[in-house]
């Protein structure tokens, strides 16, 4: 007990590292930088003419008229507002909520200016609905992975193995759905595969007290090697019998799906998006409004106290980590039976690590993690749409954009995120 107690007090001391004036001015400075980019880069270099935004898909029952904006002027206005927000942030006493709202606003203005710049003078309208619909699709595995991460972290276990959970989920879902011919069975087995990685994580992290960051990376390597090995050895020679699953088709919810703008974005998608809603609601309510959630947060913050009041810390950590794996497994299944069908080696391409970043970004809350995941999905989707628009930015630089923005936002606006106190520290019952 004393060992864990000492570590906790150490953490408390470290967390009170000196807050410099540098840190205080960083957020306003970042705002100003974004504003200047809006004005001089995007506004200054935009083509003459208007940017047109479309808000409905072809053949929609109810259509919304297109919106035309003068491109350069809009960029200047966006930049002006950003700089004004920087002044407000620097000199006005803002509440915590207002500070987050300003971050959101500045990012929104940057994106608006970017879109105006990209679409100025183009004959085709920029379809906002397609952008947002694609965003949600791109974000599904990141959102589910991040929710898994939130549950694990809140229980006091760092889960870097989200990547492995996604990859094994994708692999298992593809192979089971092909062999049995049942998509639903594929989905269930994909979820179980995510949970299997969770079992390994739990056994080694909680049972054998292995360093959890390193363990996560090793588990990812293991799954990457294993799926790559089985893919080359079995799936490639037996493509038709092992790796050609069907995919889930979109389910349009009656009435809600016909609402203009909102309908096609939120209520006309595969089962995976609806499962994501369920998972979000479940984790949010579960963590903050149920007995399970209170206990989970307790073992993540102060396991000794939790143990004192009779919670079995070790058992609960095992249960939570293994159960949380199910969510990431579903996210993995999306890669194969939810979108492209066949499995490919390393097809998750690091989205599990992005999910991890989204979780920290979202300050270990379900809603925050989901918002951050959507930000990633949005930049990825934005990149794929912009690359079709003949923008002068080279596509590789656009591909790097989501990651670069993450670093800038993390360093400039978010800074040090304080996780659950006992995260990553194995509990040793004395």
């Amino acid at each position: 007990m004393t060992i864990a107690g000492n570590v906790l007090t150490d953490q408390a001391l470290v967390n009170e590292a000196p807050v410099s004036t540098f840190r205080r001015w960083l957020a306003p400075a970042t705002f100003v930088a974004f504003g200047l980019i809006d004005i001089f880069v995007l506004g200054g270099y935009s083509h003459k003419g208007d940017a047109t935004f479309a808000f409905s898909q072809p053949f929609a029952k109810v259509t919304v008229p297109n919106l035309q904006l003068a491109a350069a002027a809009t960029c200047y206005v966006c930049g002006g507002i950003s700089i004004a927000l920087a002044l407000a942030r620097a000199f006005a006493p803002l509440s915590k909520l207002m500070r987050r709202v300003t971050i959101g606003l500045v990012l929104f203005l940057l994106v608006l200016a970017l879109l105006c710049w990209a679409d100025a003078g183009q004959t085709t309208a920029f379809n906002i609905v397609n952008l947002l619909q694609g965003t949600l699709g791109q974000s599904i595995p990141i959102m589910l992975g991040a929710l898994t991460g939130v549950i694990c972290s809140r229980s006091g276990v760092i889960n870097v193995a989200i990547e492995g959970q996604l990859l094994l989920g994708a692999f298992t879902a593809a192979i089971v759905a092909t062999v049995t011919g049942s998509l639903w069975l594929g989905l269930v087995c994909g979820a179980l595969a995510g949970s299997l990685v969770g079992v390994l994580l739990a056994v080694f992290a909680i049972g054998y007290r292995v360093d959890q960051v390193v363990l996560g990376v090793v588990l990812n390597t293991l799954v990457l090697g294993l799926t790559g090995y089985l893919f080359d050895g079995l799936m490639v020679p037996y493509q038709n019998t092992l790796n050609s699953p069907a995919t889930f088709s979109a389910i349009k919810i009656p009435l809600l799906g016909d609402i203009p703008i909102i309908g096609p974005i939120f209520f006309d998608a595969t089962i995976f998006l609806y499962l994501t809603y369920l998972a979000l609601a479940g984790v949010q309510v579960g963590l903050f409004s149920t007995r399970w959630g209170l206990r989970t947060r307790a073992i993540g913050e102060h396991p000794i106290a939790a143990d004192t009041v009779g919670i079995n810390v070790i058992a609960m950590r095992y249960r939570n980590v293994i159960a949380a794996g199910l969510i990431a497994g579903v996210g993995g299944a999306y890669f194969t039976i939810g979108s492209v069908g066949a499995f490919g080696a390393d097809m998750t391409s690091g989205e599990g690590y992005i999910a991890l970043a989204a979780m920290i970004f979202g300050r270990y809350t379900p809603i925050g993690a989901i918002s951050a995941a959507l930000l990633f999905g949005f930049t990825t989707q934005l990149q794929s749409i912009m690359s079709t628009l003949n923008t002068p930015i080279q596509s590789n630089l656009l591909l790097a954009l989501p990651y670069a923005i993450t670093i800038i936002v993390l360093a400039g606006l978010v800074g040090k995120v304080r996780g659950p106190r006992a995260e990553g520290i194995p509990y040793i019952k004395s």
Partner: protein, 434 residues
């Protein structure tokens, strides 16, 4: 890494007290599952696991399993042959191939055989192992050093790419005399990697941005930056090339070969060993190294003792990045000579497993780098001859490290006694809020 009391030291203490015979000490240290025993058993177990995986997934073996009841002996024999055959090829590709020796002795004259490269052929597998181990050792050090200081460097890949970009550019972009050019390029590689590492350390020290996230993101940024640089002839793309590949570096910038033109082993291997020695010296013999380790053990105590934690973070990441940059430079200057998308491979992730298997210590990193280098060197031959996919190497690496990280598991499997004087606790967790 809470308990540093090594079992070797413990055995020595015991010897002073009770004076048991040397045989007794050796027997005890094996039965008590000290670091060496556990590591060897972990590697052995991982190979058994890999062999089982191979035996149960190989397509020919699967056919044989289908006839299990009519011809069980054949099924088991095929499975055994497949599993062992793959390892034999791996061994021949990485350590020693008996055919090359018989070929050597079939030559009429020994001196002519040496001249024709028959002797080189004998040492070719070992040379390849060293070539593969070079970047693994350097990148492994780049993970192990920050680990000693309590930082996780998941971004060796970005630093390797940074080093590669600098080394390649200096390699073909400038022309310098013989020795100077090599040195300038190697230093350039160090600087390129060090810059990436410094960025991570500086961001953590100034803004509190967590190094795990920043390094992961930088990996992607650097991959796309490299792709961007290789897409335009006015940046780094080779002139008159439609592929994303840089121009070849000048001959003056090549790292010298150590044992003649038939073997690829080059001075990069010596650089790696020298760096390991330097890091050992830094960590165990200097004040700076003491600060690194103190901050790794307990940052708040170190702060109270007057150490500048933030500045140390920056310094550690700068050195680590430089080491990873060197790994990139040795690959470019030693074997590849141009940079493309295959250049950085999986070194960034492999480095983490190397550092972990080496328990974060320089000598351990060298040995782990050699082991994994051997796996990498042997894998292509294994795939070519037996059809076992090279991904087997990743599986083996991960399983070895999993077992090494959890000594109690190995002790339980082989029914070893727990080490008497604390023993090795494996890799202990320290959380990531620090």
């Amino acid at each position: 890494m809470s308990d540093q009391a090594s079992p070797v030291g413990a055995a020595a203490v015991q010897k002073k007290q009770t004076r048991p015979g040397p045989g007794r000490i050796i027997r005890d240290s094996i039965l008590e599952g000290n670091t060496v025993t556990v590591t060897v058993l972990a590697i052995f177990t991982a190979f058994v696991v890999g062999g089982l995986l191979n035996a149960f997934t190989n397509t020919t073996v699967l056919h044989a399993w289908g006839n299990l009841f009519s011809d069980p002996g054949h099924a088991i024999a095929t499975a055994w042959d497949t599993a062992v055959g793959a390892y034999i090829e791996m061994f021949e590709g990485s350590i020693f191939n008996p055919h090359t020796v018989s070929a050597l002795f079939q030559q009429a004259s020994f001196s002519a055989a040496i001249h024709d490269g028959y002797l080189s052929a004998v040492f070719y597998p070992l040379s390849e192992t060293c070539v593969q181990a070079t970047p693994l050792i350097l990148a492994g050090l780049a993970v192990a050093l920050p680990y000693q200081a309590g930082l996780f460097n998941i971004g060796a890949q970005s630093q390797i790419i940074g080093g590669m970009i600098f080394a390649t550019y200096l390699g073909y972009g400038v022309s310098l005399p013989v020795v100077v050019h090599v040195v300038v390029c190697v230093i350039g590689g160090f600087v390129g990697g060090a810059f990436m590492g410094w960025l991570v350390g500086e961001l953590k020290a100034r803004t509190g941005a967590h190094e795990v996230i920043v390094t992961i993101m930088l990996n992607y940024v650097m991959i796309y930056l490299l792709a961007y640089l290789l897409s335009f002839p006015y940046l780094m793309q080779a002139p008159h090339s439609s592929n994303e590949i840089s121009a070849a570096i000048a001959g003056n910038a090549h790292l010298p070969l150590l044992f003649g033109s038939h073997l690829r082993i080059n001075a990069g291997f010596l650089v790696a060993l020298a760096c390991a020695l330097a890091i050992w010296w830094l960590l165990s013999r200097t004040t700076t190294g003491f600060e690194f380790r103190s901050i790794g053990k307990n940052p708040s105590a170190a702060r109270v003792a007057g150490m500048n934690v933030e500045r140390t973070w920056v310094l550690v990441m700068l050195i680590a990045g430089g080491l990873a940059g060197l790994a990139g430079a040795t690959v470019i200057q030693g074997t590849d000579f141009t940079v493309n998308f295959q250049s950085y491979g999986t070194y960034g992730i492999d480095a983490i497993t190397v550092a972990l298997l080496g328990l974060g210590r320089p000598l351990g990193v060298v040995l782990a780098g050699l082991l994994f280098g051997a796996l990498h060197a042997g894998a292509p031959l294994m795939q070519a001859v037996t059809g076992t996919p090279v991904d087997m190497v990743e599986v083996l690496q991960a399983v070895i490290v999993l077992f090494v990280a959890a000594p109690p598991l190995i002790r339980a499997i082989y029914r070893l006694r727990a080490a008497s004087a604390g023993g090795v606790g494996g890799v202990m967790s320290k959380g990531w809020n620090a």
